[in-house]
């Protein structure tokens, strides 16, 4: 396979992120069902290959990475402490980067190239555009921004404005669209009328890519091309990966609107299983190494969650409630 050459180490790193994310999701789902988490819990089952691929070609400290709801695998690839930060976000630890002021999937470290997403879908695309524009204005080149959205977000006005703007300014942004077939409960057929979301990217004037998001190596290979093209100055890239969300929108949602046959079909191509099989087939990972990676992932997840649960919650009386950094009383 062209493009897959040289992917062995990258693929193992991506797979490790997928294992961590799956273990995290499994644990978090149990905690949610046990009533141990405030608010909603949003998992990335079925998205792991795309998510991990979206981060694995990026250079932390240079590039911009904007994951959102189902990119836990990408977050784990992007930073070593992602599990702990994600756990802190869910449990509202005062030590987390959001300090209990925001939670669940709404966390990030904007000064480290990782903006903190708001709930309003599509809003972060233009923020990523601005971060890349700032680099251009400062004379920095060769960096890439990856912004992750879903099929539903392609219907949002903010996403359209941002994608058009990214294309007009020829910014080095890869828009990763994970089409998981359902925007919450709404199927693709009620979300958009174009034959394929790839057409949208063409309409914006972006170079387009598409892949089967359950096929780990194909996803990696196509993502590599997209990220490299953006890095090489070929302008914005539109990358559509198709998969199925193998869970509800959140854990409160039983996803009964997804036909059983579709669920069963995708259960047979779970990205974790596909990735493991592909890595073993190529000899990039041994069976015992893969088992070990899985076991370590579960252990690391346990530790991260236990730590976040032990950490102090924010104390209302000690909180800094200020909404602005500048205080007119002190001016």
């Amino acid at each position: 396979m062209n493009g897959v050459i040289g992917l062995d180490q990258v693929a193992v790193r991506a797979y490790r992120g997928m294992c961590l994310a799956r273990a995290f999701d499994t644990k978090l789902s149990s905690l949610y069902k046990a009533g141990k988490v405030f608010g909603g819990v949003f998992l990335g089952r079925g998205h792991e290959a795309v998510a991990a691929a979206s981060a694995v070609f990026l250079k932390k400290g240079h590039d911009v990475y904007n994951p959102f709801i189902r990119e836990m695998a990408g977050r784990c690839v992007w930073s070593e402490d992602a599990l702990l930060e994600a756990a802190r976000s869910y449990f509202g630890s005062v030590l987390g980067c959001m300090g209990g002021k925001d939670g669940n999937v709404h966390w990030g470290r904007p000064t480290q190239g990782n903006p903190a997403p708001v709930s309003h879908l599509g809003a972060m695309l233009s923020v990523v555009a601005g971060m890349m524009l700032a680099k251009r204005l400062r004379g920095e080149s060769g960096d890439v921004g990856v912004a992750c959205i879903g099929d539903g977000t392609t219907s949002v006005g903010a996403a359209h404005e941002a994608c058009n703007l990214i294309a007009v300014e020829k910014l080095p942004v890869v828009v990763v669209i994970t089409n998981n077939r359902y925007a919450y409960s709404t199927p693709n057929s009620e979300e958009f009328a174009c034959a394929d979301l790839v057409d949208r990217g063409r309409g914006y004037g972006m170079r387009t890519h598409s892949c089967d998001g359950t096929d780990f190596l194909q996803t990696l290979s196509v993502m590599q091309q997209a990220v490299q093209a953006a890095r090489d100055g070929e302008g914005p890239q539109w990358m559509v990966a198709t998969t199925l969300r193998m869970c509800g929108h959140g854990e409160h949602d039983d996803s009964s609107y997804i036909p059983t046959e579709l669920k069963e079909a995708y259960a047979r191509k779970d990205p974790l299983d596909v990735a493991r099989r592909q890595l073993l087939e190529r000899g990039w990972l041994g069976a015992s190494e893969a088992d070990e990676m899985d076991a370590v992932a579960r252990e690391v997840v346990q530790r991260a969650i236990a730590q976040a649960q032990r950490e102090a919650p924010p104390e209302p009386r000690m909180m800094d409630w200020r909404a602005t950094s500048w205080d007119p009383q002190k001016a």
């Binding site: 980067c97 959001m98 300090g99 002021k101 925001d102 709404h106 990030g108 470290r109 904007p110 000064t111 903006p115 903190a116 708001v118 709930s119 309003h120 809003a123 972060m124 695309l125 233009s126 923020v127 990523v128 555009a129 601005g130 971060m131 890349m132 524009l133 700032a134 680099k135 204005l137 400062r138 006005g157 903010a158 404005e161 941002a162 058009n164 703007l165 007009v168 200020r322 909404a323 602005t324 950094s325 500048w326 007119p328 009383q329 001016a331």
Partner: protein
């Protein structure tokens, strides 16, 4: 009297571009030789190549880009062509930029210029005063200059403030308000109101284009009735300088708040609530509001004049307030 309010805004941006390499200008139709719908950026694109940029007609994305650019260390000054279209950027401004410091501890240095307020013939969607919409969101400062000097100083100060600042520049004042110079050796800090006219019989609180109307009303009252109202120019609706208003009300015992926005939940309502909450005992009469009508802003100049507060209606309201 050869410098206008819009000259001051133009000059402030020119000086900011010269002084701070992190500053860039972004918005619809602001670049090239065109220089903006109101010519506020005329000539700046030529003088600062690459730092004055046209955007697509995408108000939401303009603000999103400015958030990202601020995170990237820049100091964007963005122009909404009309404040009315700022509602299209309300999500990014309020929910994203406004919440950013609280959520992450990282302020975003954005200056959002919004040509606001009514002009004859502007109609319902090129005339609105949307201060209250933006001020409602925690995390935003909303500045409302009424004079040439404040237009210059406060735009420069806005960029020094690390947070998102909404700079409401009134279109009616652009070429009608003039001064000898915009240079003020000792500018007031942002957040401090100004006594625009000293008086004793009532306090008229106003901001933006209502300040010259209030001053004209005060002159009318002095000439016709011998009343001497005090006029307070808020200068910013957020922060709101309650102290200066309370001190004035302590002297006069009466409060009229004039605002060009719609009445329900508007700036005047907030000012009355703040003053009454802290200074009810200072008032000899119920506080009074005078705002535009509870209807969209009409197109015909005669209808428009009747829709907004004017010197005549402010004078009338003040007489009523003093009679109580």
């Amino acid at each position: 009297m050869n410098v206008t309010y819009i000259d001051a805004i133009h000059r402030a941006m020119e000086d900011l571009l010269a002084e701070d390499e992190r500053v860039f200008l972004y918005g619809e139709d602001i670049a090239g030789s065109f220089g903006g719908a109101f010519k506020a950026t005329k000539g700046l694109a030529e003088r600062y190549p690459g730092r004055v940029m046209n955007s697509p007609i995408s108000e939401d994305a303009i603000l999103g880009v400015s958030i990202g650019a601020a995170l990237g260390g820049m100091h964007p000054i963005v122009e909404m062509q009309f404040a009315d279209f700022g509602t299209l950027a309300l999500n990014q401004t309020g929910n994203n930029a406004g919440a950013h410091y609280f959520r992450t501890g990282v302020p975003v240095n954005i200056t959002l210029r919004m040509p606001c307020g009514g002009t004859p013939g502007g109609g319902p969607f090129h005339s609105q005063s949307v201060e209250a919409l933006f001020a409602h969101y925690p995390g935003l400062h909303v500045l409302t200059p009424a004079t040439v000097g404040d237009a210059y100083d406060m735009l420069k100060q806005a960029v020094q403030i690390p947070d998102p600042v909404v700079f409401m520049e009134h279109k009616y004042l652009y070429r009608r308000v003039k001064a000898e110079s915009f240079i003020n050796p000792d500018p007031l800090p942002v957040g401090r109101a100004r006594i625009a006219r000293e008086g004793k019989h009532a306090t008229i609180v106003a901001f933006s284009a209502m300040v010259p109307e209030a001053l004209e009303a005060a002159q009318l009252l002095a000439a016709q009735s011998g009343y001497e109202p005090e006029v307070v120019d808020l200068r910013s609706v957020k922060p709101l300088d309650t102290d200066t208003m309370l001190a004035s009300v302590a002297r006069t015992g009466r409060l009229l708040v004039v605002s060009e926005d719609f009445p329900w939940g508007g700036v005047a309502a907030e000012v009355v609530a703040c003053v009454a909450a802290e200074g009810l005992h200072l008032l000899d009469a119920p506080p009074l509001r005078l705002t535009s009508k509870e209807s969209p802003i009409p197109y015909h100049p005669e209808l428009w004049k009747a829709h907004r507060p004017s010197a005549a209606t402010i004078a009338q309201a003040t007489r009523y307030l003093i009679s109580l």
